[in-house]
């Protein structure tokens, strides 16, 4: 009877007791970098939003959700941006947002973790692993890196598929500053 009560009590506890809920605050960035004609270019996704339920001690209940608007993706070069947002690359009129969702987390030792999530981009859903460090505090910080193969998602899949011009691997880096949700 006593044991049953405990189980019942645990089941009734809100999930936030296991994984704290966080929302993104100022100072967060989501950037990408690739190569074009042998030269590195970098860009940003302004307006991306992140929600996180995370407890380093309870990885099982953790969840990361990132929404990435594509129509405002910017490399700082107007010629690139026009192509990037257009049909050949992001196709932002048809696919205005990319979404990354991860529910599987692994501890890599120390404050390092990996999220085995799924990226939805241009109507394609494929696994992408985000490795990150978690810095707890009043405003915890997630700093992570991932590699996305652009051609897996058809980004520049037609005319621009030549990987000697633009290599397949695009590096993603992010720093998200969180505030606890109440």
């Amino acid at each position: 009877m006593f044991r049953k009560t405990i189980i019942l009590a645990l089941a009734l506890l809100p999930t936030s007791a296991f994984a704290a809920d966080y929302a993104q605050t100022g100072g967060s960035t989501l950037a990408f970098a690739g190569k074009y004609q042998g030269e590195v270019f970098t860009g940003k996704f302004p307006g991306f939003t992140t929600r996180l339920s995370f407890d380093p001690k309870q990885l099982a209940g953790s969840k990361l959700e990132v929404s990435i608007p594509l129509a405002t993706a910017s490399t700082g070069n107007a010629d690139y941006d026009g192509e990037l947002r257009g049909d050949a690359f992001f196709g932002s009129p048809k696919f205005p947002q990319a979404k990354y969702v991860a529910t599987k987390f692994r501890a890599l030792g120390g404050n390092r973790y990996a999220a085995d999530g799924s990226l939805s981009l241009r109507g394609v859903n494929k696994p992408v692993t985000l490795e990150f460090t978690w810095t707890p505090g009043a405003k915890p910080v997630l700093a992570g890196k991932a590699t996305v193969k652009r051609l897996d998602f058809g980004v520049g899949g037609g005319d621009w598929a030549d990987t000697t011009l633009i290599p397949d691997a695009i590096a993603i880096s992010t720093k998200v500053v969180f505030a606890p949700m109440k």
Binding site: Y36, Q37, G38, E39, G76, N77, D79, E83, A88, D159, W160, D162, T164, L165
Partner: protein, 196 residues
Amino acid sequence: MPLKNTKEQWGSVSKTLHWVIVVLFLAMAWIGLTMGDMRNGPDKVAIYALHKSIGITILVLMLLRLAWRLYAGAPDPVPGTPRWQERIATLTHWALYALLIAMPISGWVMNSAAGFPLQWFGLFNLPAIAGKDHNLHELTEGVHEQLFWILVVVATLHAAAAFYHHLFQRDATLTRMLPRGPRRTPHPNETRNDVP
């Protein structure tokens, strides 16, 4: 044929540089005038990359040519050339040197100001020589085009003068820049109708 320039004729180094640059310039003019109308895409990128690669090649060859010219000198004008023609010819030559060096540099600045990569035939990248700057890009775009048309005028004058010497003066001005060398001056059967 000597390597170095003599008083009578151009040596093989100057000749080779002269004609290689003529061919590259003609290719560049054609590419440069047509590439802007292409549809955005990898083909256009490839043509622009080719244009930039040839441009850098011309710049390097011109710098070599300038150094060689300063080291090896130039032949004397063919005998009988009036002094005013000699002066114009010398001026034209130096204008061509200046234009053929200024053209690729203006292109390089333009490319740098646009923030585009500069890769030489896909082998290695060259640095930007100017910061990314929209106004500078617009300015150099105009300069690059104006220099081109000035170059076309000066090069046409230069070639017309060479043909004039060859066809009407019947002297060795043109042939001494040709691979087989000056066959006119020493040719015993050749009668010259422009003996001063």
